[in-house]
């Protein structure tokens, strides 16, 4: 060991030249033993991603349900003419329809035949619902050219001021409580997603912090040998990527399977309203993006955790 070997070209640092970085190179890859994150982290990520998938699917289904239930009602208005006397009621109904037909912004007017009304009420009132014991109003369906907002409703009310007993309602108002409930459930789903995302970040933060602590001696050696923060972070990020990807794919598959099974169960109810809550292709694409978002969240969390830990070193 007396003769110093010749220098390999380029192996020594040049004083004025910034050295190349190989954050994903072989050197970075071999800094740490193969398995570094604490044991259950892929499974924790899998469970959390599955929960997010289910919550997101629920939120999307509720949104579709609300959209479906409201479809066609946003520009629809009901006009009722309440009058116990059948002849008078019919005359006033016809007068109201005549006023509506001539109005600007009205796309269609249909006076619902009394027989149809009786047929609709029979399931609740029994046979003979139209025989006079219970007065049935004259009903007119009005389709506007635009959304039936408060201004439109007020305009129609004013126009029908000459028709005694006329009452005007936007059909969308009938579903407002239902829509409000669905909106609340959607916010709940969004809140759950945010909480689970937070839990995922916390789990990754703990795992990376532990991994970093257990590899601290090696990290210090690398640091003192001239490793940049990017190079050191790359090693941990590679492990996080591997384990988070495994957990995310597994969780995504489990969540999607659960959503599909639930969808089958609800579809079997064969209910008109529930069938409106099915998931569209775009919804499934959004759900498919959740595992990817989970991996990105894990990587971002790990990057920040490592940067903070390295900042404590000189």
């Amino acid at each position: 060991m007396s003769t110093l070997p010749p220098l390999p070209p380029g192996s020594g640092p040049d004083e004025d030249e910034a050295l190349p970085e190989r954050p994903w190179g072989r050197a970075a890859a071999r800094l740490l033993p193969p398995s570094r994150l604490t044991g259950p982290i892929p499974w924790v990520i899998a469970i959390l991603i599955a929960l997010v998938v289910i919550a997101a699917a629920g939120g999307l289904a509720l949104r579709n349900l609300a959209t479906s239930a409201s479809a066609g009602l946003s520009s629809a208005v009901s006009v009722q003419v309440i009058e116990p006397n059948p002849e008078l009621r019919e005359a006033r109904g016809a007068a109201a329809a005549k006023v509506l037909v001539g109005m600007e912004g009205v796309a269609g007017v249909r006076q619902v035949p009394e027989a149809d009304l009786v047929a609709m009420l029979e399931p609740w009132l029994g046979e003979g619902a139209g025989e006079g014991d219970v007065p049935i109003p004259a009903l007119i369906d009005v389709e506007l050219e635009r959304t039936a907002g408060p201004a439109e409703i007020e305009r129609i009310k004013t126009a029908l001021g000459s028709v005694p007993g006329a009452r005007v309602d936007a059909q969308g108002d009938f579903l407002r409580p239902v829509n409000n409930a669905l909106a609340a459930l959607q916010w709940l789903a969004l809140g759950l997603i945010a909480l689970v995302a937070l839990a995922t970040a916390a789990a990754v933060w703990l795992a990376v912090r532990n991994a970093f602590a257990s590899a601290r001696e090696t990290v210090e050696i690398m640091h003192l040998l001239g490793a940049s923060q990017r190079q050191i972070a790359a090693v941990f990020l590679r492990d996080v990527l591997r384990e988070a990807a495994f957990g995310a794919v597994l969780g995504g598959a489990l969540g999607a399977a659960a959503v599909w099974l639930l969808g089958q169960q609800f579809a079997a109810l064969d209910s008109g309203m529930v069938s409106g809550g099915g998931l569209m292709l775009t919804d499934w694409l959004a759900i498919a993006a959740i595992p990817l978002a989970g991996v990105l969240l894990a990587l971002a969390t790990a990057r920040i955790t490592i940067a903070l830990a390295l900042k404590a070193m000189l």
Partner: protein
């Protein structure tokens, strides 16, 4: 002022304390010149390792100013330190080899971190292991190596990047006298042939005589004395003769 005139390293009234404890190093002002060979001596607890930590950029001073290779270490952003560290070679007191990497991979580490092409890494590491007499142990991991072998791997790792300055903390503390002398000769070779500035911390006074042209810095309770004029510029002529000091 050129680096040669200014020195590789300049400490100006430097103090170091850990937390709120009293200073372990106080009022250090000295200059290390390119191509010189320095011994840093002092009793255990005198502050040798703390001073070395400042030199190999593991610590920033609590006060004072340090310039290294013309750059101000106190104000230098953290992101620029790796480039500076790659110009240093460090032999740590307890070697600090990565336990699950082979001797080959440990020695290759500085080159790989610096982005050297793998073909060149293989050649350079092979040559370096041959130089320290460990070619036959290239695939051994540190746990299976003797203290002397680990020491040589640590030295090979420290010098493979041809550092501008080599810092060694008690490098002969774990080896027998013959091996200690061989290691010193190795440092001398690096100093004489490559011009690397060498700083060796030791409490072994017998070692100081083995390198006749060396300069001695003595630490006592965190303060520095200068028995061979090592800290003056220009260094004392008799002391700087063959050491390469400017």
């Amino acid at each position: 002022m050129s680096e040669t005139l200014a020195g590789h390293v300049k400490f100006d009234n430097v103090g170091l304390r850990y937390g709120t404890d009293p200073e372990v190093l106080s009022d250090l002002s000295f200059t290390l010149f390119p191509g010189s060979f320095y011994f840093l001596t002092g009793a255990s607890g005198a502050g040798k390792t703390s001073l070395l930590k400042l030199l190999y950029l593991a610590q920033r001073p609590s006060r004072g100013a340090i310039r290294m290779f013309g750059q101000d270490l106190v104000t230098m952003p953290q992101s620029r330190l790796p480039d500076l560290r790659r110009r240093l070679g460090v032999v740590f007191q307890n070697f600090r080899l990565v336990p699950y990497l082979s001797a080959f991979d440990n020695v290759a580490l500085p080159l790989r971190l610096a982005g050297t092409e793998e073909k060149r890494v293989v050649k350079a590491v092979g040559d370096m292991l041959d130089w320290v007499g460990l070619s036959h142990r290239a695939h051994a991991i540190p746990a299976t190596m003797s203290g002397g072998e680990q020491q040589r791997v640590a030295i090979a790792r420290a010098v493979i990047g041809r550092p501008k300055m080599l810092i060694a903390d008690e490098p002969t503390g774990n080896v027998d006298p013959d091996m200690a002398l061989k290691l010193l000769r190795l440092f001398e070779a690096l100093n004489n042939r490559v011009g690397t500035t060498v700083v060796v911390a030791t409490h072994d006074v017998h070692l100081l005589k083995k390198v006749p042209d060396s300069l001695i810095m003595r630490l006592h309770k965190g303060q520095l004395s200068d028995p061979t004029g090592a800290l003056r510029y220009p260094p004392r002529p008799s002391a700087s003769g063959g050491s390469g000091a400017a």
